[in-house]
Symmetry: C3
Subunit: 139 residues, 3 copies
């Protein structure tokens, strides 16, 4: 049993989802580990992680429309607005989604379902440089 | 230190919660591991995992009523409707709950609290065959 | 590779966030492990775990205002009210946040981002004694 760690740097272009399944898989393969547990942890409070359908891009747009309605930018409820009207909504969206996701690895394959992809969700309107810590433990 | 993996197949009857605490515990016991970390990962984007109270069934019905109001079936906001008016709401409900949950194991007991149960939440109106990957690492 | 476990007892004063970053770090250091995966698991269904900004306390108050509006105490939608008008909302808030969070540990440092803190979120109006199980696996 051994472990490996890595940092993934993602330049998000703007608010929305950026799929990271491929670079995560590439790193997992590079470790030589074939069975274990992969953990992805995003080091931010205004961007988050998500597993969602990777087949129809409309799903991602609908999800964005839902969150934009649920947590409106510029909502007068929010007093923390020094960094902009999208800042506090970004924190709330992060809380409602995930900061960390672990996925089992079996015989060299991450056990993502057929339609599952792993995403970084940028919640700020403008793009940012985001850091995802990857940890893998196994054989 | 060693690891074990398993797949749990759950036939959900319809939208709602299906408790899986018992089959998960049975598998954990069968591995012979007594201290470690159990991870459950659901391989779907329209069903999710949840830890909730297992004492009063009314809690589950209230939770369902809350989610049905928060993410209404057939909401005109959603354009991804090819698979039915409950499809996109099922994705959103999955995002708002969990795809993966890890629970420490100590001296042969999962550290669930007195009132905690582990559940699969079927978010589609009709039942489906759902797959939960289990991973256990420990001694 | 070895593992360590611990229970953190938190007396929450009332509804709201209690930061636990410091006692978690202190325990991690006491184990002597320097690289691995830390898992925190809260053994309750009306309190939860959260990673959020620890810089501006207004973020926490805004988050509380958002959740109080999204899941109102005493909502007639809820029938499970035996323990009070804040009981079912506390379960829903727990479902919408996290019961478990894992954080990688590298060279003796938890990989929390600059602005990230780990919190217990008390969702009941009155304070409670809460138990967080900590599990650490590594070298």
């Amino acid at each position: 049993m051994r472990q490996a760690q890595h940092r993934l740097l993602i330049e998000t272009p703007r608010r929305g989802l950026v799929e990271i399944t491929r670079p995560v898989l590439a790193w997992v393969e590079s470790t030589g580990l074939r069975d274990g547990l992969l953990t992805a942890f995003i080091r931010h409070t205004s961007a988050s992680l998500l597993i969602q359908e990777n087949a129809d891009a409309e799903v991602q747009r609908d999800l964005e429309r839902f969150l934009a309605r649920l947590v409106p930018d510029g909502d007068p409820l929010f007093r923390h607005a020094a960094e902009g009207s999208d800042d506090m909504p970004a924190h709330v969206r992060s809380v409602l989604t995930q900061t960390q996701i672990s996925i089992p690895l079996q015989r060299g394959a991450l056990l993502l379902g057929t339609w599952q992809g792993l995403y970084v969700y940028e919640h700020r309107l403008r793009g940012h440089r985001r850091e995802v810590a990857l940890h893998l433990l196994g054989d």
